[in-house]
Symmetry: C2
């Protein structure tokens, strides 16, 4: 009864979305080494950092150094978040392959996160997208709080559609729809994607789930069943959203790849190399990583 | 696109399947108090213990004491596992409402777990089922290693069907199909249930998933979509299978109820009372319980 695709593309967001929420500092050299190891797993996309002001996210203040030091695999797209033209300038200077802009489907979350209303955010992002395109970069657009907001609660799917449509009109190449606080349930995802079918370009729409309540893989399954083939995830389940209470736990790349592999869906990723890269970053951060793969490996003493 | 039922029945197996794998001893009085608290959550079925020889499962050696001491809520079915006529005798003497027999779809797992071949097991269970029925008890039949065996690997769905059919012919009232080592993936569950549709009585078939690799809720979702409405789970995710490496983690009742509740599916269970009962047993066992609900509560300092 399930309709499943043959192939799935994974966007590894751990070095950015994972590390930005770590309480302890990870050395620049360790980030570089981790990204180099991720490049060898078969992943074709790595979001390496965020060119935001260090005041906002001190954990990623070394974005320039990281971008300058990593080895570039020609088959891998190295991407970074940019909040504005200044960040874009730095990203271009450091020659990242793709930049990501971001905003929220929730007015309050957008205001608290970006310090602007949704309407005020559009022209800022439009300029960034245009300049990025002129510089020959592809652009990704993140929409957050798609399935719920820590301040506003439920979010109208039409609000998500309006923001997504504007980003697509600006010329983004890929849309990423984020369950920022990890509240999405499979029925909600099913209804949302049913409502968006034929209106959003699913072939270049990624789903970005958090595993806060353990439903991320179920939500992935529903999305696959709707023809979505791009997913964001963070190796080991590193990270989450620091602004939302109890919202830890990005969907773990290793758990996602394991499920897809079990179902015969190709990702091009080597699970053993992925486990090695997870073990590497496990040593650099405080506490056991939440992914099931890491926990199974730790129990085996591996 | 999802077809979801309006109601789901949950079989709480924590006091048996959860506690049987605890390395530290939980006092009989604490088990009794936990079961009494579970009775107040809205759960309508609690598997309280196993009447097996203490040599096999020393953690449950107090099955008689537990069965004798718990408060009986007339709306709750109190069940227990029985491996043979001797166990059944004790269960009848202690007046449990329902007994469960068990065997494996894997020849090797059955041999190692029950010390008999599958063929040798049938007459033993047949006698137990008949005697239980004569004593006015309902009977549940567990089939283990349905989606994979630690010794044999893949299990032919037809082997599962043959064992299930025999148990149904003996007169069991409900069948429970167990993913003993937690390897089932959603595609496998989908294909299995498609193959069993119209052959097994889904209205009295329960699925028993483990969350070893984080796929349990996705597997539940697929099962719901096939019309399965009975699920086994263990509060807090307590327990697993001690005989299978890396197979910790029963599906957590609290996470299951949370997902079902978010999807508007009724279980009759009060999530707050469930959280209280989870917090109670959390204090009696070593280490943090794996359920997402418990972990969110712990992070909030609740």
């Amino acid at each position: 009864m399930l309709q499943l695709p043959k192939q799935v593309t994974i966007r590894e967001v751990g070095p950015r979305d994972g590390l930005q929420n770590q309480s302890e500092e990870v050395a620049t050299a360790d980030k570089v080494e981790w990204i180099n190891r991720l490049s060898e797993t078969g992943l074709r996309y790595i979001e390496i950092s965020s060119f935001v002001h260090p005041k906002w996210i001190p954990q990623l203040k070394d974005a320039r150094e990281v971008a300058g030091a990593i080895r570039r695999d020609p088959g891998v797209t190295y991407a970074a978040l940019v909040p504005n033209r200044k960040g874009l300038g730095a990203a271009i200077e450091k020659n990242v392959d793709e930049v990501s802009v971001f905003m929220s489907a929730s007015e309050t979350h957008n205001q608290k996160n970006i310090n602007k209303s949704i309407t005020e955010t559009y022209p800022v992002l439009e300029e960034v997208v245009q300049e990025a395109k002129q510089a020959g970069k592809t652009v990704r657009g993140y929409v957050s709080t798609v399935f719920g907001c820590p301040y506003e609660g439920d979010i109208d799917p039409e609000a998500v559609f309006r923001v997504s449509e504007r980003l697509l009109e600006m010329g983004i190449d890929e849309l990423s729809l984020g369950d920022t606080i990890g509240v999405a349930d499979p029925k909600q995802v099913d209804e949302f994607l049913t409502a968006m079918s034929g209106r959003l370009p699913f072939s270049r729409t990624a789903m970005h789930f958090h595993n806060t309540s353990g439903m991320a893989l179920a939500n992935v399954l529903v999305s696959l069943n709707h023809g979505i083939t791009i997913f964001d995830s963070s190796l080991g389940g590193l990270g989450g959203c620091p602004y939302a209470e109890g919202a830890s736990g990005n969907l773990a790349t290793d758990d996602l790849v394991h499920m897809l592999s079990r179902m015969g869906i190709e990702t091009g990723i080597d699970e053993e190399k992925l486990a090695d890269a997870a073990a590497y970053i496990q040593e650099k951060v405080h506490g056991e990583l939440p992914s099931h793969r890491v926990q199974i490996a730790n129990r085996k003493g591996g």
